[in-house]
């Protein structure tokens, strides 16, 4: 709300704002995506950058060829298990603050290839995702809406709470290796043949547990989270994993966990 004094000051060229707001304005107005496509979603991503939809209206037209210059990774398409280590490595090479949009059904959950032997069941098993864009593939308008959602999220971030500017020790996300039966982290198969992947902390658990911040059934064995501690700092409920009944209710688990 602009007060009379503010308006009077603005007439003399003096503008009042907060550092957070100014910072967020600058950051959300220049989100540079990584020039990086994996499958047919990348075609829609290119169309989003072209004149008809024109990503440039939102300051995100600068597709960078190097992860060192990019703010946003649009995971556009099917992430095969063979490609997953490279995706995580690219994410690790991006400077913070960095954001991830999971574009399309395949990047979000594996999509139609979810039950196959060769496709990762969602990139959020390995890196944190800010915005999911559903669709197969999503239309350019949908990706644009995903970007605008991300901009709204950036607008809402507080400089004293955001994880990039804390005193934590910056660490890379663990890069999986290609094992005998699938992807491995620390010698443990994370996406086994004939079984479910280990639950990511980066999926969306039940809303109740999100709101209260309390574990509803702390005695239950938690499904093992793959994460880095920066997530724990911003959203502690994610770091504690998810109870089995919540996981059973989760779309990504298919409700069939035993």
């Amino acid at each position: 709300m602009a007060t009379e004094a503010q308006l009077a000051a603005e007439r003399h060229g003096v503008f009042l704002t907060t550092v957070t707001r100014l910072y967020n304005w600058g950051r959300r107005s220049s989100v540079y995506p990584l020039s990086f496509g994996l499958a047919c979603c990348a075609i829609e991503m290119m169309a989003t950058g072209m004149a008809r939809v024109d990503l440039a209206r939102f300051g995100a037209e600068m597709f960078r060829a190097s992860p060192r210059q990019a703010d946003l990774m649009i995971v556009a398409g099917t992430v095969t298990k063979k490609m997953a280590p490279q995706v995580v490595r690219l994410y690790n090479q991006m400077p913070e603050p960095r954001y991830v949009i999971s574009m399309g059904a395949c990047a979000t959950s594996g999509g139609p290839f979810r039950d196959g032997y060769n496709v990762l069941r969602g990139i959020d098993l390995l890196i944190p995702v800010d915005v999911y864009v559903p669709g197969c593939p999503p239309r350019p308008e949908a990706l644009l809406h995903g970007l605008m959602t991300l901009q709204a999220q950036i607008d809402a971030q507080r400089l004293d709470a955001v994880r990039w500017y804390s005193d934590r020790e910056a660490r890379d996300h663990p890069v999986p290796s290609l094992g005998r039966h699938g992807l491995e982290l620390d010698g443990q198969t994370i996406d086994p043949v004939g079984g479910l992947p280990l639950l990511s902390p980066l999926t969306s658990p039940h809303a109740e547990e999100q709101r209260s911040g309390q574990l509803e059934h702390p005695q239950e064995i938690r499904l093992f989270p793959i994460m880095d501690d920066t997530v724990a700092r911003e959203t502690p409920w994610r770091a504690r994993g998810v109870a089995r009944e919540i996981a059973a209710d989760d779309l990504k688990r298919g409700g069939a966990h035993e």
Binding site: K82, R114, D115, G116, Y117, N118, L178, G179, R180, H181, P192, V193, G194, G195, L196, R253, G254, A256, H257, E258
Partner: protein, 152 residues
């Protein structure tokens, strides 16, 4: 060029090579001779497709070769079968160089070993992967097969 269809000329020229002449299924040992005849005498200079079929009921893997002639005419497909337990066939890379990648693909996904292939490695999957996922007895995986809810 004779007016007879290529398949008729092929079966007539190599009468001993066939395990099932009606469907152009060659004996494994006679496969190179059949391939040379198809390429040199019938003019099929290009191998467009090499694929495999896992016949679990008969315990065999069938490898199908699709060839076309640049001069035109109908394409031709011939086959060879090999037991699943020890799947081996002679390589046709010497005849059609284009077979190299496709034989690697069949080796990767179906586990057919091609004798005489210059560089038989996995092509899609990584070297450490165990199993051949396009075989029909490869373990089923995924949510829909868990807790008895899967299709049979």
């Amino acid at each position: 060029m004779s007016d007879q269809p290529a398949a008729v000329r092929l079966t007539a020229a190599l009468p001993a090579a066939w395990r099932d002449a009606a469907r152009l299924e060659a004996h494994a040992a006679d496969l190179p001779a059949v391939a040379r005849f198809v390429r040199d005498r019938l003019g099929y200079a290009m191998l467009t497709n090499l694929t495999a079929v896992d016949d679990l009921a008969r315990g065999e893997i069938e490898v199908v070769y699709h060839v076309v002639s640049p001069a035109g005419g109908a394409p031709l497909a011939f086959r060879a079968r090999t037991p699943r337990a020890a799947a081996r066939l002679p390589s046709l890379v010497a005849c059609w160089p284009g077979a190299e990648l496709q034989e690697r693909e069949a080796y990767d996904l179906f586990g057919v070993t091609f004798d005489g292939h210059p560089d038989l490695r996995r092509i899609y999957l990584w070297d450490d992967f165990v199993g051949h996922p396009m075989r029909r007895d490869f373990p089923r995986q995924g949510d829909k097969y868990i807790a008895g809810a899967g299709e049979e």
